[in-house]
């Protein structure tokens, strides 16, 4: 991909993110994005074959920031459950600063076909936090050096915890739950799920 293409792509994603921050996914209309990014609608669709792809791209950037924050200040609790909850809670608070984007994240995690790029990434992050293996986590790069056994019982349990977290996130976004309650529930759940870590 050429320089100008990378530029264009970045410009599109940034424009989309800006629109999504106010107004959410609905405000992020393909026409507006194309217009404000200074590309033709057809071009936008060349880069992102569907709106969902664009949403995923936006959300992936958001996730980069989150990951960066975690790596900068790793959680210090002395149990795996404590550290995992810490990470998830920080993620929750971070996402709540842009509820519209958070909504997009959640929705894309569930709807999009792109599970390998988001779901797995979150799982791997929490896995590393839980197992206290945060030393070799690159910042902007692929996170794929340590051989994580994604079928192990432990990884399944982390996956379950992530599922629970995402649902709590959904409830918060719907306004049915506050963050304190989420913390309580994540604690209760994580203590059981990660007791053997």
């Amino acid at each position: 991909m050429s320089r100008s293409q990378t530029q264009r792509r970045k410009r599109i994603v940034q424009t989309a993110a800006a629109l999504a921050v106010r107004g959410g996914v609905d405000a992020m209309q393909m026409r507006s994005v194309a217009e404000r990014a200074g590309v033709a609608l057809g071009t936008l669709y060349r880069y992102f074959p569907s709106k969902m792809d664009l949403v995923v791209a936006v959300v992936t950037e958001e996730l980069d920031l989150l990951e960066g924050g975690i790596v900068r200040r790793p959680p210090t609790a002395d149990t795996a459950a404590g550290r995992a909850v810490d990470v998830l809670l920080r993620a929750t608070l971070g996402l709540m600063r842009e509820p519209e984007l958070a909504d997009a994240l959640v929705r894309s995690l569930i709807t999009a076909e792109v599970r390998i790029e988001l779901d797995t990434r979150i799982c791997d992050l929490v896995w590393r936090v839980a197992t206290d293996d945060l030393t070799n986590l690159p910042v902007g790069e692929e996170v794929s050096d340590a051989p994580v056994d994604r079928d192990s019982t432990g990884y399944v349990l982390i996956g379950s915890l992530i599922s629970v977290w995402i649902f709590e996130l959904v409830e918060v976004l719907k306004g049915h739950r506050d963050v304190d309650e989420v913390e309580r529930r994540l604690h209760i759940t994580a203590e059981r799920l990660l007791a053997s870590f």
Copy 2:
């Protein structure tokens, strides 16, 4: 609501369900539903202000059937975890018979504002199964006689298990997971979550 209105409503939901079974939510177009149910588009929108409301109505009926099946043949495993997994697995298999509707169910659980009508109902059902309290479960009626403490630790844990189940369902629907794998994962998770039951 008058007799003819109840009739109309039922006719709409049945038509919608029929369309959804083949072709899924996409095939369940508001115009088609209105046309085949013999009502005007405006009328359809009077009964169901958005497509999502219609989907939820369809899915709620589906849930009735599921609940009925569970009550007819309650699970017999001798641990709470075993019984819970049994129910969820049966639900999974049942839903897999109409993948398009299952998809609608999952999506509505997450997207729709109607959490109280579906999520809670599933939780209550599993709660009763887990605590072996299936005697007083009416069939087509409200399930609200026994005072379930929805803030108790136990209920939170059931909720977490449901979250995990829904995610597994999503994965199955995406074709990323088979039912055996779901069973394995639910077992692993439920054993931890419900150990203290």
